[in-house]
Symmetry: C2
């Protein structure tokens, strides 16, 4: 399996570390020999070599803040030209999400499919805006389009639905899809004001300097849209659904909920209403006896309501270097490994 | 896919209902046409017909307390002779668990493998006592040996590990594996005495008249042994591990734990200690912030500690007609369906 890594930030590096650490396991348990033939990163520079690049050296260089272009096998074009000319079996698209344009990730994915590569991506843009077009293109080229890392990082959500809930009808999916806001709500319940909890989240690297994408619910909305399109088959875009963040939740409201045996959570929700697929993001008072109520800090969780098992809930990480890198690894195993 | 159903109690009937309800989905989504050619039940009687029995009629008869032997295609031998002579592709072993002898289930499974059938079972006996022998036999005959229903009924536990945690190293699995005891502990926290909570559980059908297998921890121990053998590769038997039930937990102890921010749960646990696999069943005080603490009533849950994702927890049903029937359905899809 010859791999192109497009985007060599946290996720790309997390995957590279796992590929090195898990080399023997991939070969012994899945009959999979993975060779990284190219890395393309807008800031760090690019490498390409048809018989494999020096992955430990690339990782070392990136971690120490150096440029890949200082290493042998420097590549001079951009990511798109590398995808169009490379000989590879699978592309890992791990550039940053631009939820307004979904670019350049969507162009990368289209080009990879056109070249007959499987794709795994952790980028929410292409899934939230162009899922059906891309899935159709992948089908027509007989390659796999996998994206476990777009929802709850490497926690097995999309693969769980596909592989282990096979044969079930899912009527609703709801949960905590944004770790930053869940962390802020957790700290507010402990007594911090919204402002102080946000500052803590920023200090810990959970929240950005401009925290809008998290606190206004947009990140959760992108994930909800991905679930609506991929699990429920809707032809949906983020704008189709109501979205409300946590900025209007006060400490008083949290205390009042607590006194009623409830806890505020920012809940993303997708459900069937007759033939329609509906979705929303909004703070909800969750009963303390519900499994979602106990999910504290930056952890994520989703509850699936099914016709076969009733409710099944999965609780796991929603972000992280190794955790999101692993989502790409498990997709690589699904695309190319012996099972 | 020609199916033999051995054991036609709650689980077998739950599966039969799902097979009828999901016929179109199995064909359209998994390219799977399932035909039940035989049913063998020690109490209800047996049916066999190489071109398929009348499943709706068998289900109707069993539900109304009638005998299968009143229907066409009556079969006169026992289950073992049916397995040895039937033309079938897969056997569903759903007889009652005898944890001391693992019979007659183990003999059924051996015979099915010898005939080249895949097997799915919900019976904990053969897994807890003879897993490695049976897995080796299945391998040598190139058939699948699946048993999703033995732990947390149809909740995707074993398939989750195999399919969606591929490439991860699991250092510990711990959780709530017995719904009856979790229900009793939940009611005790609400103020009932142990005796009254047990009576409630018996009234609801959660606990047997002789509740030892649940309240002394033996049921959880069987599941822990299955996890030790199948997930951790141990060559283990239930007797190898310490086991303590909930009979010595008092209401006072529960209150005292609560005042420390803790909650008693009967925890089954398997972990690696160097090259050794250790396991135990015992009541433990769980911190209220842990996902397992929020699992109330008859629900089950397991937390996997992994090198790739940290902790991942799955919460779902641990019993039930449809829920356990579904475990067999998902195994049938894995054995024979297009994925």
């Amino acid at each position: 399996m010859r791999l192109l890594l497009v985007g060599f930030g946290t996720v790309g590096q997390g995957l590279a570390e796992l590929l090195l650490k898990k080399e023997k396991m991939l070969r012994d348990q899945h009959g999979l020999q993975v060779q990284v033939v190219g890395i393309a990163d807008m800031l760090k520079g690019s490498l390409y070599n048809a018989t494999g690049i020096d992955l430990p050296a690339a990782l070392e260089t990136a971690k120490s803040g150096g440029k890949l272009s200082e290493l042998p096998h420097k590549y001079k074009g951009d990511a798109l030209s590398m995808i169009k000319t490379a000989e590879a079996d699978m592309m890992v698209e791990a550039t940053y999400t631009d939820i307004k344009t979904a670019e350049p990730a969507t162009s990368h994915i289209r080009a990879a499919f056109e070249k007959g590569m499987h794709v795994t991506t952790t980028n929410k843009g292409p899934l939230a805006l162009h899922y059906h077009e891309l899935a159709k293109l992948a089908d027509s080229k007989d390659v796999r389009f996998l994206f476990e890392g777009t929802v709850m990082s490497g926690s097995p959500v999309l693969n769980l639905i596909r592989e282990t809930l096979a044969g079930s009808t899912i009527s609703e999916v709801k949960g905590i899809l944004n770790g930053t806001t869940n962390y802020i709500l957790t700290r507010m319940e402990e007594g911090l004001s919204y402002e102080n909890a946000l500052t803590k989240a920023q200090e810990l690297g959970y929240a950005e300097a401009i925290p809008d994408a998290d606190v206004l619910g947009w990140d959760a909305l992108a994930k909800v849209t991905i679930l609506a399109s991929t699990v429920f088959g809707a032809n949906a875009r983020p704008d189709d659904f109501p979205c409300k963040g946590i900025t209007e939740i006060t400490s008083d409201a949290i205390d009042a909920a607590k006194s009623r045996g409830k806890r505020y959570k920012l809940i993303g929700r997708v459900w069937r209403d007759g033939n329609e697929v509906k979705a929303s993001v909004a703070p909800e008072e969750i009963d303390l006896t519900h499994p979602l109520a106990g999910v504290m800090g930056a952890t994520n969780a989703l509850t699936f309501s099914t016709d076969t098992l009733g409710d099944v809930t999965i609780v796991g990480p929603g972000a992280g270097r190794t955790e999101t890198g692993y989502s790409a690894l498990v997709d690589i195993i699904h695309a190319g490994g012996k099972r």
